[in-house]
């Protein structure tokens, strides 16, 4: 379905193996020259052919076809020093302030952090959904199948081609994410037809198949229902079906389970993961719930006050957090058998209009020292593809995973 990718820097690894980073996600370091050149050349050539026929119209019979043979390790998305400042009445909000990360094909990346730490703004910047009058962005967002040009410079028409067919997004509240005056079927058909030329029967068949695939019983009949006739969980399933209608290669899930109850949360997460594995698409899962993230993701980014404070493999982050914030988040997770009040992180996230100098977590950090208040923060390599924005990361690591629990899950 997808033209052969340049077999990127990494070794084509098996699905279980660690994905190779597309480039050091550090703030400044660009990917090594050789890689870049190789990539640039190869991708540019592929780009022309790819531009038009990507949302393969023949998908009707191969609903949710796997992306090539899941070349794990091939970079799909690279975000370099992304900054998004929002112009508000109160001043300039530095919602995203120097975020860099890479995402490989078929990788699932988690972004976790408190409300207002820039997770959603990051996602919406990647999707180009923020109003230009409000949001000013710098840095680079590179969607590799499209070439080396940053998505931030894409025109309205380019965006319309990309969105839905290449990048898709699902939102927090399924109750409001569907148009209340159109039936679910109409909206699904619209999505199916948006990036493909299908006959009426083909489109309908694909729509029904999509609904069946996301686990909606009696899909033929449910197509005729209006959104208000669906339950929350079913709506989220329908939204997932709509997002996947054109077989995108990257799905951004912005708090997809936050408004659902715990049982449904689990079902939706399993469904997302299952679809991700079936199709080989990449996924960015945003949540404020570390438990949700660790369940699903290969790699985790912890964000605080618009910055990445820790990045690493999921297993490492929960067992060996290197940033006091991550550690505090882990400590605040509810544990079976725990009695009494849950520990919380004292204080509030800082104002992003006027963020504190030095480490932004310092005012709430139990390990704070004078150096923290003046330190030019940077992500420090802590070994094993792991980075933390804390100069005392070794001490944090020695303190163990979390204050109270032994293990998350």
């Amino acid at each position: 379905m997808i033209p052969a990718e340049p077999t990127g820097p990494g070794v084509p690894a098996g699905p279980g193996l660690p994905p190779v980073e597309p480039g050091p996600p550090g703030q400044t370091a660009p990917p090594p020259d050789t890689e870049l050149a190789e990539l640039a050349g190869a991708v540019d050539e592929a780009d022309d052919e790819e531009a038009a026929p990507v949302p393969d119209p023949e998908v009707a019979e191969a609903v949710l076809a796997p992306v090539a043979s899941s070349v794990v390790g091939t970079p799909l998305l690279t975000v370099e020093d992304l900054r998004t400042y929002l112009a508000t009445g109160h001043g300039v909000v530095r919602a995203v302030d120097g975020v860099s990360f890479g995402l490989a094909q078929a990788e699932v990346l988690g972004i976790v952090g408190e409300s207002g730490c820039g997770k959603s703004v990051t996602c919406r910047t990647i999707m180009g959904l923020l109003p230009k009058s409000l949001a000013h962005s710098s840095g680079r967002v590179i969607y590799h199948p499209r070439g080396e040009a940053s998505l931030l410079d894409a025109s309205q028409n380019q965006w319309q081609e990309l969105r839905g067919s290449q990048l898709a997004m699902i939102f927090q509240d399924p109750m409001t994410a569907l148009n209340p005056v159109l039936t679910v079927g109409e909206q699904l058909l619209e999505a199916v037809n948006a990036h493909a030329r299908l006959t009426r029967t083909e489109a309908r068949a694909r729509a029904v198949e999509l609904l069946r695939r996301v686990g909606i019983p009696a899909p033929q009949r449910r197509m005729r229902d209006y959104p208000f006739q669906f339950s929350g969980g079913m709506l989220q399933r329908a939204l997932i079906a709509i997002a996947l209608a054109s077989s995108p290669r990257l799905l951004l899930a912005d708090e997809p389970t936050t408004s659902l109850d715990v049982i449904i949360q689990d079902q939706i997460l399993s469904l997302l993961l299952e679809l991700q594995q079936d199709t080989g698409m990449s996924m960015i899962l945003v949540s404020h719930d570390l438990a949700v993230i660790t369940e699903v993701c290969d790699r985790i980014i912890v964000m605080y006050a618009g910055q990445v404070v820790e990045e690493g493999r999921a297993a490492t982050i929960i067992t060996e957090p290197r940033h006091p914030y991550t550690r505090a988040l882990l400590g605040a997770l509810p544990q079976a058998g725990h009695q009494g009040e849950l520990p919380s992180i004292p204080g509030h996230p800082p104002s992003l209009i006027d963020p504190p100098a030095g480490c932004r977590f310092a005012p709430r950090c139990p390990l704070v020292t004078d150096k923290c208040l003046t330190w030019e923060t940077e992500l420090l390599d802590t070994g094993g593809e792991h980075q933390a924005r804390c100069w005392r990361h070794e001490e944090v690591a020695r303190q163990g995973p979390a204050q109270q629990g032994t293990e998350v899950h």
Partner: protein, 296 residues
């Protein structure tokens, strides 16, 4: 007290619920205004369409022997005017013009104003600013004065009445629509639609318009009455449709000199205006209930 004690909780609950159920059934009654309004409008439209079948007299035909004949005079159901013209016939044929104004003027301003408001609200920024300042410009003048000025410039005729209304009254629609769109465009389904790569036109017309159009549609019914009244007022001022063409406002205006002696010259055209006005306002009410389920 005893009844409270004897009634089991389930009975009490059942009674309360069945009362509520009764209220819900009466929701069907809420469609009544719409149905009655549409019926009245249908009667009016049928009457003016089949006017030749309902009266034998031509609207401008002068019955020299019978000027100012009272109603129920043989051959003149509603009497005649000072020239001996049949009032019933003039009301029927005059209705063609008044309803033409109601539909023709209102539909154009409805569509135009809605589109302008949609664009202004959706795009915001400079486009919004420019469009809304133009709207402000129109609102700065008294509406009737503006219309009279335009007609005075262009000369009184049916087409110029249309033009004057088209030029001036889209602004109300644009304002209402813009306010609705600004609310609607922040809804998540709009964001979701954009995230699926739909074009701006598609997002506006398919996702925002159906969710916002109810207010302007309801307003258009009120506006239609307003336009009939306006046409009548212009006719009354002599700026409307020119005699001898029958038109309700002109008829009232012509009849005012005889109001003490020949009341039928003013009463019946007035009742015709009221009839159509009631029809439109019932339709507007009914639509408000049907199109805005949230308000129930």
């Amino acid at each position: 007290m005893t009844t409270l004690l004897t009634a089991s909780p389930s009975e009490v609950l059942y009674k309360a619920a069945s009362k509520a159920a009764g209220r819900r059934r009466s929701v069907a009654l809420r469609r009544l205004p719409l149905i009655i309004g549409l019926a009245l409008l249908a009667i009016a439209i049928l009457a003016i369409t089949f006017a030749p079948l309902l009266t034998s007299a031509a609207p401008n035909q002068i019955d020299v022997l019978n000027p100012l004949a009272p109603p129920l005079t043989p051959g003149h159901l509603l009497g005649t005017d000072q020239f001996g013209r049949d009032v019933w016939s003039r009301i029927l044929y005059g209705g063609r013009i008044d309803l033409a104004i109601a539909f023709g003027a209102t539909s154009v301003t409805l569509v135009g104003g809605t589109i302008i408001g949609l664009v202004a609200g959706y795009f915001g920024g400079r486009i919004d600013n420019v469009l809304m300042r133009i709207v402000d410009l129109f609102f700065a003048f008294p509406f009737l004065v503006l219309i009279i000025a335009i007609i005075a410039m262009l000369g009184p005729s049916l087409l110029n009445i249309f033009l004057a209304i088209w030029i001036t009254s889209w602004v109300a629609y644009a304002r209402i629509m813009r306010a609705q769109v600004i609310v609607a465009k922040k809804q998540q389904y709009v964001l979701a639609a954009r995230a699926l790569g739909y074009s701006r036109t598609r997002v506006m017309l398919r996702h925002i318009l159906p969710n916002t159009a109810s207010a302007v549609i309801i307003f258009s019914m009120v506006d239609a009455i307003g336009n009939i009244a306006l046409a009548a007022a212009l006719g009354f001022l002599g700026l409307g449709v020119q005699p001898p063409t029958p038109e309700w406002g002109t008829m009232i205006s012509d009849g005012q000199n005889y109001i003490t002696t020949a009341w039928w010259l003013t009463l019946f055209p007035g009742l015709a205006i009221v009839f159509v006005g009631v029809a439109f306002s019932l339709i507007g009410d009914g639509l408000a209930d049907v199109l805005r389920p949230g308000d129930r």
